[in-house]
Symmetry: C2
Subunit: 212 residues, 2 copies
DNA sequence: CATTGACTCGAATAGCCGTTCTACTCTTGA
DNA sequence: TCAAGAGTAGAACGGCTATTCGAGTCAATG
């Protein structure tokens, strides 16, 4: 999608990216000018408008440091824990987030903390974070968050591999000691819901946890 | 380390964190005032100085949007791939980074892409990213990047669990099919070097990759 | 009551910021 | 040669920003 860039503007974009990474905020036009040895702020503005026209950045007019990268890292909320052998409820972990880059859309993604060994053969361990992309459908073999809707409760969720078979849906744990759940098609349609599929996992060794 | 915060200042800090997450830059004092229904910018400045004094933020005087979080997410560079059965060289993957929050210091951390199945029993798979904290020492049982220094080459690195035994160092793969490497103490001291230990792993399912 | 500390407002100030305008130099190509 | 386009400098302008100051409120404490 992005048009190729000249050498100079490529270096300028690189400076902006590094500045944001280093300082936690975008640079001002004058700071860019100083770093790129450009004397005129109007000149910087000119190059920024080029970068914007070509889709590398988005600018907010008149705002100081009003430069955004079109692809940039974001945090997504951790919405609770999920099991395991027995389905348990997703409960909210207020304020906790994990950082994932990779173009994960924070609007349509969230994370859960895995409890138990039910996905151990897929190398998803107790304590891992799983990053879920919200979607109501999935393909065979996807690892999904499936929710059993029971009236009067918020629903019980489980993390399993999804397989659509002739007469039924099979929710397959990745642990030889655990049995898959078989659900007839009509019951599936009526009482179950896909909440999303796993697109990434994050595991921490030793460390205390995560930042806010 | 951080002193506890009053309700109001806690909400103010939360707003700042969310603003940065949402907008990619810190808010101005006026924007904070508007969001917190504070009429006076001097008033905002007062609360910010409280947050700074208590160690939650750092401010750069006179700079617009000059607020930094003391713990904030960063990207760390991906420096290459690492094996596996056979030690291979770390080669640079220019420009690639992954995002990790959790207070990982980007100055002292980097990431590698795992190739092969040598750590599979620790549930570290082919294609996973391992996040390495640079350090020259480690404790028994740590998963480390160990480099065998051979003259005239940049060194060959391997990913193993480290065990210091009576007369030797044991570098233990997590795969029953692979033999550990045993290194006499004097050879270890002379020819080997710890480059860092694994503090996190990140795995992506399906998706194409990551953003710059 | 008097004092202290935390919090709030309104106003003022000096400087920073994004943007625009004019003018100039190259290079490319018709 | 002429025109067009990209790149550069300098200056100016109006708005935005962080900071400071003086004054005031309120609750807790002595």
């Amino acid at each position: 999608m992005p048009e190729p860039l000249g050498e100079f503007q490529r270096r300028m974009l690189e400076f902006i990216v590094n500045y944001i990474r280093r300082e936690g905020m975008p640079p001002t036009n004058r700071e860019i000018g100083k770093a790129m040895k450009i004397a005129s702020t109007g000149h910087v503005d000119y190059h920024l408008s080029m970068l914007e026209k070509r889709g590398y950045i988005i600018r907010e007019a008149k705002k100081s440091r009003g430069i955004k990268l079109t692809r940039h890292p974001w945090g997504i909320p951790v919405e609770g824990t999920i099991a395991a052998g027995e389905p348990i409820e997703i409960f909210s972990e207020p304020d906790q987030t994990i950082e994932v880059g990779h173009g994960v859309d924070p609007e349509s993604s969230f994370a859960l903390i895995v409890r138990g060994q039910s996905m151990i053969e897929d190398h998803i361990c107790d304590g891992d974070y799983v990053v879920i992309k919200r979607q109501r459908t999935c393909e065979n073999g996807d690892i999904v968050v499936a929710v059993h809707l029971v009236e009067g409760t918020p629903g019980k969720a489980t993390l399993k591999r999804f397989f659509l078979e002739k007469e039924q849906v099979r929710l397959q744990p990745a642990n030889a000691e655990l049995e898959p759940i078989y659900i007839p098609r009509d019951e599936w349609d009526r009482e179950w819901e896909i909440q999303g599929k796993v697109i990434a996992i994050v595991r921490h060794y030793g460390g205390p946890g995560r930042a806010a």
